[in-house]
């Protein structure tokens, strides 16, 4: 293990940094030291201040108090460009690309190689991008527009961007949230080699096993305050969770056995050309069915088609024995279907609207009479569900965007649970959510199944699938590759089916 010598100067450090947004104190006197050749994990629940800390390092936020130190010297980053010029590369949770521009331009925007008269040298831009992709071992076309890239590929473009200016500090905010097995392995390979070349890495992930696999040291934040900085070696997952939540956590996968009833959702030979083919499965009431597979295997697309967001080319969907009209989400809702989408910011919530309004978007009819909204009814509906799901908020009238990720996800769940669905489809229900909230969401899903709701859970988090599902469906390249009962589902069996190593097992 590489432990920095005590006299080594950190490449980038924060000293006693505080930052407030209005009345919210996001960071309180936090210190952090990043050393060359070391991967440093930043742990903490959502809302602990991790994102604010990153933005302070990236020059997006200027600290109210305290200093940023570069090679031991105090610096002030006036903007992201300053931080970048100092060699700090940040890969944000949500990839920040220009959808209309080519991948190559995305990487070099503002830093394009130039030829005479300051003109951009398009050929060099393209060649340099191709060279970066070669180094990363991925086959992306530099001329391809960023629009339409998978999240995994977008992530790789961001990494290529960091590589392109030989970043001395690489900050990654949940880079693996949307990646699966092989992609994570590839990413870690790249990060390790960068670290060995002397880069300092700051890594954030809610998957603790990744922290242990990749990092040498870990700093924990709780409620904006610094809790501990320590070597990862000798630390257990339980220790880390205790530091993050300040208490011992109940079971992470509180799956209760539920009574399995009649078929609630039946999907037969569903096909959408070029996306998924011949998908058939059933979900019974009281059952949690896990839908596993690599990103891009077509899982979310199946969910979207079932719910009627996308049309399908062939096949049939039945809810409670009645066929569903294709391409009609409102009819799907009326039939008792609910879909909690994978991207809560873009698909699950209207970020510029209040918590109350968001929850009530699914109940406009229920809370109105002759088309006129009943404000009191709306409020009580929202309060009811916000309290039941223990959403942490100041006022229901606050913008949903001001909540932490975990609480936003609870609002999405509240919005859909308020429709009393008989079939609940959840797509990546705990992506980017802290451990504490994650356990709460799992307990809720288990409880819903106990009440007779049929749950279809799409997840890239294998332990989650294994811990929560009664039955695991595995998709591979747009087809259901395997159906594995809970007793036989293991990491090996699911991954084998997801990567197409085994044939149709069921």
């Amino acid at each position: 293990m590489t432990h920095p010598a005590p006299d080594q100067v950190p490449v980038l450090a924060l000293e006693g940094v505080s930052k407030s947004f209005g009345a919210v104190r996001a960071l309180r006197g936090v210190s952090l030291q990043l050393f060359a050749g070391e991967a440093h994990a930043l742990a903490g629940e959502n809302g602990a201040g991790k994102s604010t800390l990153i933005k302070a390092l990236a020059g997006v936020h200027r600290p109210d108090e305290g200093t940023v130190l570069l090679d031991g010297e105090p610096v002030v980053f006036h903007g992201p460009a300053d931080a970048r010029d100092a060699g700090v590369a940040v890969i944000y949770q949500e990839p920040t690309l220009f959808p209309d521009l080519s991948v190559a331009e995305n990487i070099f925007m503002g830093r394009q190689p130039r030829r005479s008269l300051g003109r951009v040298d398009h050929r060099s831009v393209r060649a340099a991008a191709a060279e970066l992709f070669r180094r990363l071992g991925v086959d992306l076309d530099p001329d391809q527009p960023a629009r339409g890239l998978s999240i995994a590929d977008q992530q790789l473009v961001e990494i290529a961007k960091a590589l392109s200016f030989d970043a001395r500090v690489l900050i990654m905010d949940e880079p693996t949230a949307a990646l699966t097995g092989s992609e994570v392995a590839r990413l870690f390979g790249v990060v390790r080699s960068l670290r060995e070349e002397g880069a300092a890495v700051l890594f954030i992930s809610h998957r603790l096993e990744e922290v242990f696999a990749l990092c040498q040291r870990v700093t924990t934040l709780r409620d904006g305050a610094w809790i501990a900085s320590e070597p990862v070696e000798g630390l257990g997952e339980d220790d880390l969770i205790r530091r993050m939540v300040g208490r011992d956590l109940d079971e992470l996968y509180p799956k209760l056995p539920a009574e399995v009833g009649a078929v609630a959702l039946s999907v037969r030979r569903l096909t959408r050309e070029g996306v998924f083919t011949d998908v058939s499965f059933e979900v019974r009431s009281g059952e949690i069915v896990g839908l596993a597979g690599l990103v891009g295997a077509g899982r979310s697309e199946v969910a979207r088609a079932v719910f009627g967001v996308d049309r399908w080319d062939g096949g049939e969907v039945q809810v409670g024995g009645k066929p569903l009209k294709p391409g009609a989400p409102s009819l799907a809702m009326a039939a008792g279907l609910a879909l909690v989408p994978e991207d809560r910011r873009a698909q699950g919530l209207v970020m510029g609207m209040s918590i109350e309004r968001n929850i009530n978007l699914t109940g406009l009819r229920a809370t109105s009479r002759a088309g006129v909204m009943n404000r009191g009814g709306e409020r009580s509906r929202a309060v009811d569900w916000a309290v039941r799901l223990q959403v942490k908020y100041a006022r229901l009238a606050d913008l949903v965007g001001t909540l932490s990720g975990g609480n936003q996800q609870k609002v999405v769940l509240a919005k859909w649970l308020a429709t009393s669905p008989s079939v609940l489809i959840v797509d990546e229900p705990t992506r980017g959510i802290d451990v504490g909230t994650k356990a709460e969401v799992h307990r809720l899903l288990s409880q819903l199944a106990g009440e007779g709701v049929a749950v279809l859970m799409i997840s890239s988090d294998l332990p989650e699938i294994l811990g929560m599902a009664d039955r695991v469906l595995v998709m591979h390249e747009g087809r259901i590759a395997a159906e594995i009962p809970r007793a036989e589902a293991t990491e090996q069996s699911v991954m084998a089916a997801a990567t197409g190593v085994t044939g149709r097992a069921a």
């Binding site: 521009l101 331009e105 925007m109 001329d143 591979h476 390249e477 747009g478």
Partner: protein
């Protein structure tokens, strides 16, 4: 996300990729419509494309091309400038007033450009620093500038008779069928296109229109670029004002009123997405040429010019419909291709 079929016109440097072909198709489509229309008119009326006829077509398009090219720069950054008509009017009168007092024609043009740029800077500052939606800000400045123009001009009027004859000649003459004004517009067009494609700041226009948030994080000086786009747009509207004076020799307080709608139509028909980040000024120039040509075509095939506006509107809707269909098809193709690469990778 397979249903979000946003316009997929992409601002990529040439490469021969799928989306690039679509982009080129877009410009070719306008060109085809234009050529077809002119050819049909020519068959119907053989005097239409005489030397004078071609010259008139180009002259009519010149002013719209200039303003639309400026507008395109602003729209590419996901903003809009509705004040261009007012700016054109006030700069045209300013130049005329200056010439009426015996001023140098070249200085008059510089004055109009500078005045336009100043109004552009005002818009740009309000939009970039005030963080107010461009639509509202420039709607406000549209009225303010028009109001100032009305107070200043009153019932006065500039006519060709008070202008230096050289200036008026410049507005009418040319190298055979090629008017000087059109040459000037073409030079501006090529320069702007070259800038947008080959300079970092030009590429940043596209970047910040494509995703303002990502642009900020990538260190693009967002406010500076937006300000620059507005200044350029204002300056071109000012130049267009001076040329309007040279071409028509007649300016009053109503000059350029309502022009912004024609300009925005030309931009959209020319393939610059209103959501920013895509399109090219060449397309916009073709769009402007198409719109102004309709004005000449209809009378010469005997259709009443009252139809002009309706046809402009239909063209606009058609352009948007074509975009939509193309977007859906491209999404479909990308989808299939992704599926193919996927099976190629794992298969």
């Amino acid at each position: 996300m397979t249903t979000t079929a946003e316009p997929v016109r992409v601002a990529v440097p040439p490469s021969g990729g799928l989306l690039d072909r679509v982009l080129k198709m877009r410009e070719l489509a306008i060109l085809a419509v234009l050529v077809l229309m002119l050819a049909a008119t020519q068959i119907d009326n053989s005097a239409f494309l005489s030397q004078q006829g071609i010259k008139d077509l180009l002259l009519n398009a010149t002013i719209l091309v200039l303003v639309a090219v400026g507008e395109a720069m602003v729209v590419i950054t996901r903003n809009v400038d509705l004040s261009v008509g007012s700016v054109l009017g006030i700069t045209a009168f300013a130049a005329g007033d200056f010439l009426q007092g015996g001023g140098n024609p070249l200085l008059a043009v510089v004055l109009a450009v500078a005045l336009g740029a100043a109004f552009g800077a005002l818009n740009g500052l309000l939009v970039s620093i005030g963080q107010v939606p461009a639509l509202v800000v420039t709607l406000g400045t549209l009225y303010i500038i028009r109001g100032v123009d009305s107070i200043w001009v009153g019932s006065r009027e500039i006519t060709a008779s008070v202008l230096p004859s050289g200036f008026v000649d410049f507005g009418h003459n040319g190298l055979s069928a090629l008017p000087y004004l059109a040459v000037l517009a073409a030079v501006v067009l090529v320069a702007v296109a070259y800038f947008l494609r080959n300079y970092r700041s030009g590429r940043e226009f596209y970047a910040l229109g494509s995703s303002p948030e990502a642009a900020g994080l990538a260190g693009v000086p967002v406010r500076k670029r937006i300000l620059a786009a507005y200044i350029a747009c204002g300056a071109l509207a000012g130049l267009a004002g001076a040329l309007y004076l040279a071409r028509f020799g007649n300016v009053d307080s109503g000059t350029g009123s309502g022009y912004e709608l024609t300009v925005v139509s030309a931009v959209v028909v020319g393939g610059v997405a209103f959501t920013g980040g895509s399109g090219s000024v060449y397309g916009v120039a073709l769009g402007a040429l198409l719109l102004t040509s309709i004005n000449s075509v209809l009378p010469s095939i005997g259709v009443s010019s009252v139809w002009v506006q309706a046809i402009d509107g239909i063209l606009l809707l058609l352009a948007i419909a074509v975009d939509r269909v193309l977007a859906l098809r491209v999404t479909g193709v990308l989808r299939k291709r992704a599926a193919e690469t996927r099976s190629a990778r794992h298969g």
